[in-house]
């Protein structure tokens, strides 16, 4: 067991799930929310030369996806270090 005790293992997993679900919430909101379900309503808002809903569907959601993964990488690395489960540099 890499963790010091069972509680640490559970706390690590809970923190991991919380982070994952938060980021997936954003993932869902920008694509299915802004890009699809709310697209018609958002299209009333001009965004540079785009209608906002259309922009989220064809551009914005993709940019957010990329950012989400790099945020996840950064925060997970911090979590791994905090719980001392980071792989050693071999």
């Amino acid at each position: 067991m890499a963790f010091e005790n069972k509680e640490a293992a559970r706390a690590y997993w809970r923190a991991n799930l919380k982070l994952m679900l938060t980021l997936l919430g954003i993932w869902f909101a920008v694509s299915y929310g802004f890009g699809i379900l709310l697209a018609d309503a958002l299209n009333a808002i001009p965004f540079f030369g785009f209608k906002l809903g259309f922009w989220f569907a064809q551009q914005g959601s993709i940019y957010v996806f990329v950012i989400l993964i790099f945020v996840y990488v950064g925060l997970m690395n911090r979590l791994d270090r905090k719980f001392n489960v980071r792989e050693d540099d071999e």
């Binding site: 980021l23 996840y72 489960v85």
Partner: protein, 568 residues
């Protein structure tokens, strides 16, 4: 110098590069053959994953499809990128920690069952073959249009090149060639887009030009112009769609989840040294993919405005066919553009109502775009090389999955467990060679339904692998009975729905007949939900998971102690 000269030169140089890399990166062991020794840098792996993922369909067809679909094209844009978020957050790090070679390996070990492994192997092989046939076809089309050889010769040349580096180099050779292929294809895609964006909007970056004012019509935004043209010509507005909201939702979800369940994508994350590299690698892959996927909708709208203006003329009265630019005549010869002078005025006219006289194939948009915008010959040649790079890189990745499935999952883990590493490598190479020949045959004699089977591949991956892997990681009490019942019910439901509406009774495939208004393209999402539901119910009614399997699940949930991917 002619287009053909440039095409031979640029395609020739790129081929020499791929073969050179293949010789440098030969595989010496099964581990190098299957997962490149597990030592690929995350950025290089990200590029290779991106090239693996972006197929001839992404490169050649996608912008054309969006150009004709408008807003609805977003299902591809979001569907084929959003899956990487699922991969990075829910799958890649855990599968990397698990540390075997293939998806069937995971399914078989996690669900302690040869049956589960066999179901997974069959799905992996089927999904990969449907894909690879389309790729070989793409190679043939590019060769025949730009090098004026026939499609058969084109396919054979493509087969020979893939054979050389996939059979020799395995995953190691493929990974490093794909890095080169990514560079070729992304350069080839963005150069014409930048030129066209500058000409039409004055912006160097196509993603900005997409939302900018037109040079020819100051004060008018490109997209407003396009909506205006669409209304005038009897099409739905470009920024609105024709599909129902529910259908767009389900198709997007099926493509996203399918992406995260495709074996040739997942296997990519076994090739990096560490768990944290698997996470990072998914980020790099999506960044590289996003370059093409955010350029494509811009290219689609530029191409549509250009095409309408060329065919209908500035006054929207039609351009006389005798004065048509040479690209229209070139593509008429291939049969992909045709003109039927219904009102006998000698002028071409394109519209969405009864005035229409043109048939324009969606697939030509990207290939014809540089010609439409009058770009120099070397740019046109570059696009040809890019299309070939996209097709070759994806076929190679798929062939590797096929050969690994046969030599590792089927022979080594199932039928002949006692073969040595050397023998296994030999079988892997033989399987790759046979796979190439079958793919080539399908490329030359394509079954009429290549386009339809893509929906099949994503639907099956979404409704089978994805729930089984997710439950395997996040629900340690999921047992084999639940997983197998879930996979089978998900797959059978999805397959039955697609087969019925695509092959048995295509005439009935209209929104009124669809279940909840979901088209066959989006039904994989419902199949996935059925899979989850059945798996959870059956799990409650059957025996508990063995203790050692639960411990294994606990151990893949944190990175420490991963080591490199191994056979045992």
């Amino acid at each position: 110098m002619s287009i053909q000269f440039w095409t031979f030169l640029i395609v020739g140089i790129s081929f020499a590069l791929y073969i050179g890399i293949a010789i440098w990166a030969r595989a010496g062991s099964t581990k190098e053959f299957y997962v490149a020794g597990g030592g690929v840098h995350p950025v290089a792996n990200g590029m290779a994953t991106a090239a693996d993922w972006m197929s001839a369909a992404s490169f050649i067809s996608m912008a054309g499809l969006i150009s004709f679909m408008g807003y609805d094209g977003a299902v591809y844009l979001m569907g084929w990128t959003g899956g990487y978020v699922l991969l990075a957050l829910c799958l890649a790090p855990y599968l990397r920690k698990f540390g075997k070679f293939t998806v069937p390996d995971f399914i078989g070990d996690r669900y302690y069952s040869q049956t589960a492994r066999t179901v997974a192997v069959i799905c992996a092989i089927f999904v990969s073959f449907t894909y690879v046939a389309g790729q070989m076809r793409g190679v043939g089309v590019v060769f025949s249009r730009f090098l004026e050889v026939d499609i058969t010769t084109g396919v054979v040349i493509g087969m020979a090149v893939v054979f050389f580096y996939a059979v020799l180099g395995g995953m190691k050779g493929i990974t490093y060639t794909q890095v080169a292929q990514f560079c070729v294809l992304i350069f080839a895609y963005t150069v014409p887009a930048v030129f066209i964006s500058m000409m039409m909007t004055g912006h160097v970056i196509p993603q900005l030009g997409f939302g900018a004012e037109l040079v020819s019509d100051p004060g008018v935004y490109l997209l407003d112009k396009l909506d205006g043209l669409s209304a005038e010509l009897g099409f739905t507005a470009y920024t609105d769609g024709t599909k129902s909201v529910a259908d767009v939702f389900f198709i997007t979800a099926a493509l996203m989840v399918g992406t995260a369940g495709l074996p040739h994508v997942i296997v990519r994350f076994f090739t990096v040294p560490k768990v944290r590299d698997a996470r990072k690698s998914a980020g790099w892959a999506l960044l590289f993919i996003a370059i093409l996927y955010t350029t494509a909708p811009a290219v689609a709208s530029f191409a549509r405005v250009n095409m309408i203006n060329t065919i209908n003329g500035p006054e929207m009265a039609g351009t006389p066919h005798a004065e048509a630019p040479s690209w229209i005549k070139n593509w008429e010869q291939t049969g992909l553009i045709s003109w039927d002078d219904k009102n006998s005025d000698g002028r071409m006219f394109y519209s969405g109502d009864e005035r229409n006289e043109m048939k324009v194939d969606r697939d030509i948009m990207v290939l014809a775009n540089p010609e439409i915008a009058n770009l120099p010959a070397w740019v046109i040649a570059l696009v040809a090389a890019g299309g070939i790079a996209a097709a070759l890189s994806t076929s190679a990745g798929l062939l590797l999955v096929i050969s690994t499935s046969i030599s590792h999952d089927l022979l080594k883990r199932n039928l002949m467990p006692n073969i040595t590493d050397k023998q296994e490598l030999l079988y892997a190479r033989a399987a790759a060679a046979i796979g190439i020949c079958v793919a080539g045959y399908l490329g030359i004699h394509p079954p009429g339904f290549v386009a339809q089977v893509v929906a099949f591949a994503f639907g099956l991956a979404a409704s089978s692998f994805f729930p089984a892997i997710i439950l395997g990681i996040f629900y340690k009490k999921m047992n084999k009975e639940g997983a197998i019942a879930g996979m089978l019910s998900g797959i059978l439901f999805t397959a039955a729905y697609i087969v019925y509406f695509k092959f048995i009774n295509p005439a009935a495939s209209v929104p009124e007949n669809w279940l909840f208004g979901i088209s066959p393209e989006g039904i994989g999402t419902l199949g996935m939900l059925i899979n989850f539901a059945v798996a959870l119910v059956v799990n409650k009614m059957t025996a508990e998971v063995p203790e050692d399997v639960q411990e294994m699940v606990e151990s893949i949930r944190f990175p420490k102690g991963a080591g490199t991917a191994s056979v045992h």
